[in-house]
């Protein structure tokens, strides 16, 4: 058991060495240009997804793009302030379920992959968004 524990801790140390300190997540995602590209990929992926697309039939894409950019920029400590509607107001009555939410998380991961965002940075963004889940599903 001890040798397995050592091996595991060694891996943790190695992964910790790769860690960059003290940059905002917004900057780590590539700043304005990087985040903008992620949002473009994200919208493209939603447009191609049979499960998620129906939720956007009434949405105006340009408005959605601006709102989601501002929201992501704000939540990653970027130089923006999201002043759109609350998550609860937007999603009430849309009947979004657990599976839809996770599908959207999959699409966001995929979009970040397409923009070559390193996996640890991807997890940090998902980690910032995860607490919003209860304001989005089954409401």
């Amino acid at each position: 058991m001890k040798k397995f524990l050592c091996l595991f801790c060694l891996l943790l140390l190695l992964s910790a060495c790769a860690h960059k300190a003290n940059e905002t997540l917004f900057y780590q995602l590539g700043g304005r240009e990087g985040l903008s590209k992620i949002v473009t990929s994200f919208i493209t992926n939603i447009g191609k997804d049979k499960q998620i697309l129906p939720y956007f039939f009434d949405a105006k894409i340009s408005r959605f793009r601006n709102q989601i950019y501002d929201h992501l920029c704000d939540i990653t400590d970027g130089p923006c302030h999201y002043n759109g509607d609350s998550m609860i107001d937007i999603h009430t009555g849309m009947n979004i379920n657990e599976s839809d939410f996770n599908r959207l998380v999959d699409l966001l991961y995929k979009s970040m992959d397409e923009q070559h965002i390193p996996h640890p940075i991807q997890n940090k963004l998902i980690g910032r968004l995860a607490p919003l889940r209860s304001t989005i599903i089954y409401i």
Partner: protein, 274 residues
Amino acid sequence: MLKLLTTFFLFFSTQLFAAEGKLIATPGVSQVEGSAGGGLVPWAQLAGYASQDEYAVNLFCSQGSVDDFRLRSCGAQLNLFDRVEFSLAEQTFRVNALDTEIKQQILGVKTRLYGDLVYSKWPMLSVGMQYKDLKDDTIAKALGADDNSGVDWYIATSKLHLGAIAGYNWFWNITARYTDANELGLLGFGGPNQDNYFMFEASTAILLSRELAFGIEYRQKPNNLGLDEDSWSDVFVAWLPNKSVSVTMAWLDLGKIAGAPDQDGLYLSLSGYF
């Protein structure tokens, strides 16, 4: 058993349904007694990718080969609405020294009491039982075991922390088990040295990507037969390339089994998710 599994599989596969409601890798894999878990330890997660609006059916086969023994375990799980998990497993334990095989069947039920692995504020919590029926009890009786069937009860708690370790997702699980099974039950239940029913089990893993997990496990075992049963541990790599299959490889350190010391070896497990 095989017939039952086939019927089970055919019934559900005709519906051409694949549950995909969970995030990839979050259900874990299948442990040797058939429950969702790591390789050795049952975890709080329920098997398969069913969300609370879906059901999932999974099949698995695992094999662990150490110096003097080999354990093969195959079975199936049914996850209903991510609330209840039923599992069936058949174990075939080969004892090289006696050139014989011991079979055991295990029926498991697990229910999720609270939480979500990723999103809930507190860790996920589940309770479960495993009813074990030893088919070949000659060796168990010879070693002094009291019974040829038994029930394990366990409580498991687990959590995945997003980006917790240098940005990588970190998973842990702790399980407490009430059991009188000797070597999973393959050497019967109870015995002359029985004094402790509560066993501690734990697993932890780091997800190097969305599809690849690297981790370790630990499992305490009772010493009812007075054969100095050791705790088990392993180090594993699990690859979950999509929501249909997973492959797990591990290196087992099982210590002393039925008097034979230093039982190390390779473990390989495959799961299919429908």
